[in-house]
């Protein structure tokens, strides 16, 4: 079943098109990421799902029901806020039980549910503390427990890991992923970190200037960026400019080429080749990143660490399979 459906949804703030004709459909139980730079419309999309914003035009459905005009408190959707938004005047237990309390569930029952939720996010026994006494990572878990205790059909996460340090973030990525798999709840995750989106999501939408640039699995988006923007934003794909594309016999103006797909070797049968000079090289552990200047275009090559590294300034031949060269739309 479709969990969230956006049919040509736009949200304009005056002349600013924060969200512009977005079409997407998120399946039940899916871990869906919305990726984009700040101001790209991904957070506005999340707020449209939560009910904090209403679309200027278009149609939103949540589990088959029209969402327009339904206030946030009547949606079976819960949000983990970017700043966590824990209630400072309530204990952790009361924070987690808040959603149950306003629904009129009895004290004992909600206490038990809140304690279970705290145990689920690995904070058992923290109920009596105040938000101010917890670390950032702990508050993040409390925010997660507070949302999940309501058993939402869709959980919205607004850059939930943005404020955490790298190690904690990696740990939370794994935990969120396994939590999502065990609960089977649809997760919609907003992030500007492409690594996070690629590693966690089942599918992702890449946003720019209010529009979806590409929607697909992490593999599709990573290997075949549809537009130059996606190629630039999602990864380190090389973008071949017009003249190189023409020389290689492509009709498109631009094409993407992944650094891993390029070898520094003379072309064998059927392979395409370009020649240039080594501009820079850096050691990345498993690979060396070698940047080659081909008539002004800089093409990065991920060369296995075992291979010999050519000296800077030396002429080299790059070869790659024609199937690794992906034509892109101009946008």
């Amino acid at each position: 079943m479709t969990a969230v459906l956006f049919d040509n949804v736009s949200r304009h703030f005056g002349a600013v098109r924060a969200v512009d004709r977005v079409k997407l459909s998120i399946a039940e139980g899916e871990f869906f990421a919305m990726l984009g730079p700040s101001g790209s419309g991904k957070t506005t999309c999340l707020r449209l799902m939560a009910g904090f914003e209403q679309p200027t035009s278009g149609h939103i459905e949540i589990f088959g029901e029209t969402a327009e005009g339904v206030p946030p408190y009547r949606r079976s959707v819960n949000t983990v806020f970017q700043d966590y938004a824990l209630f400072p005047h309530l204990s952790i237990l009361d924070n987690v039980a808040y959603g149950l309390m306003v629904r009129g569930i009895g004290r004992e029952e909600r206490r038990k549910a809140a304690e279970d939720a705290l145990a689920m996010v690995k904070l058992p026994g923290y109920g009596e503390r105040r938000p101010g006494q917890l670390s950032g990572g702990q508050r993040q878990r409390v925010a997660l427990a507070r949302a999940l205790v309501n058993k939402p059909k869709v959980l919205l996460l607004d850059e939930p890991l943005g404020a955490l340090d790298l190690k904690l973030r990696e740990q939370m990525q794994e935990e969120l992923k396994s939590l999502q798999q065990s609960l089977g709840i649809t997760f919609v995750f907003v992030t500007h970190d492409q690594g996070e989106a690629l590693s966690m999501a089942d599918r992702l939408a890449v946003f720019n200037e209010g529009r979806i640039q590409q929607l697909g699995t992490p593999e599709e988006v990573y290997n075949r960026p549809k537009t130059r923007f996606v190629a630039d934003f999602v990864g380190s794909a090389n973008v071949l400019p017009v003249d190189l594309c023409r020389r290689l016999g492509l009709k498109a103006s631009f094409a993407s080429l992944r650094p891993e797909a390029v070898a520094i070797a003379p072309a064998s049968n059927g392979a395409l080749s370009l020649s240039g000079t080594v501009a820079s090289r850096s050691f990345l552990g498993a690979t060396n990143r070698i940047v080659v200047n081909v008539d002004g275009a800089r093409i990065a090559v991920a060369s296995p660490a075992a291979n010999a590294v050519p000296a800077i300034g030396s002429p080299v031949t790059l070869s790659f399979a024609a199937t690794d060269l992906h034509p892109m739309e101009d946008a």
Binding site: P72, F81, Q82, A85, P88, R139
Partner: protein, 271 residues
């Protein structure tokens, strides 16, 4: 944890500070002293004798009771009105954006910046143009103009510290507008409202200027006191009343101080 603060002020500064504080507060002790004097026509020092009879005299005078109850009623109703309107206004100004927001903020604060005499004359002419007879309610209206300001100022400062996402989080978790106000907003602004309300009450309770323009024949407590000082009869009764007013107002102000001094940590952001 409080760090040790140095205590190296020069002696001269200490004496000057003590003298300043004494200048402010010793006259209040004089008020207390003259409440017990046996001389009723003038305040001579030292008092020729001490007596507690003025308490009984004050108790039995109906004009004392009339003035006191009028002042209490006016202050209560003006404060209650100010709490509702000031809070709503603060919520609108701090939580939303709309055309003319800054102008409205300024217009709300203006009555306390304007000299009371301007407010008083303006209200008096407005009442007479509208042919509203002077009454209890015209006094309340006059007082509400500046009571709203102190409530508004207290509430708006606290509202600004409440992260907007707290209200959204509450709605997101299933609370409607009323529940959000009851369970999230009110606990976070409660102490600010208490402090604002007490200040508003105190301002209304001793207001003279606006009251003289908006009251008819009725006397609030401060106006009654002014009138009493002109009359050379049973003067210590005024002191008795003043003393009771000091004691009765001091306790809630002390309470408000203790309730709001920890306010900094009430509405911190989420992180």
């Amino acid at each position: 944890m409080r760090s040790e603060k140095p205590n190296h002020a020069p002696l001269g500064l200490k004496i000057a500070t003590a003298a300043g504080l004494a200048f402010m507060h010793l006259p209040i002790l004089l008020i207390f002293l003259y409440a017990f004097t046996t001389e009723e026509k003038s305040y001579q020092f030292p008092p020729p004798g001490l007596t507690a009879q003025w308490f009984a005299v004050a108790w039995s005078r109906p004009d004392v009771w009339a003035a006191l109850t009028l002042s209490l009623k006016v202050a209560s109703i003006a404060t209650a009105t100010a709490l509702v309107l000031g809070t709503l206004c603060a919520a609108a100004v701090s939580q939303t954006r709309f055309f003319g927001r800054e102008a409205i903020s300024l217009l709300v604060i203006l009555p306390i910046a304007l000299p009371g005499i301007i407010t008083g004359i303006a209200l008096r002419s407005a009442f007479s143009i509208a042919e509203i007879p002077f009454s209890f309610w015209t006094i309340v209206l006059g007082h509400a103009t500046f009571c709203i300001v102190v409530v508004y100022n207290n509430a708006v400062a606290r509202f600004r510290r409440i992260s907007g996402s707290l209200i959204e989080a509450s709605m997101d978790l299933g609370a409607d507008g009323f529940q959000t106000f009851r369970y999230v907003i009110l606990p976070n602004i409660g102490t600010a409202l208490l402090a604002g309300g007490m200040l508003a009450f105190a301002l209304s309770f001793d207001e003279v200027i606006v009251t003289t323009f908006t009251a008819g024949q009725q006397s609030t407590l401060p106006i009654w006191m002014l009138e009493e000082l002109i009359r050379p009869r049973q003067r210590p009764v005024t002191n008795v009343v003043a003393m009771i007013v000091v004691i009765v107002t001091f306790l809630p102000i002390l309470g408000a101080y203790y309730l709001t001094r920890d306010g900094d940590k009430v509405a911190g952001a989420g992180k």
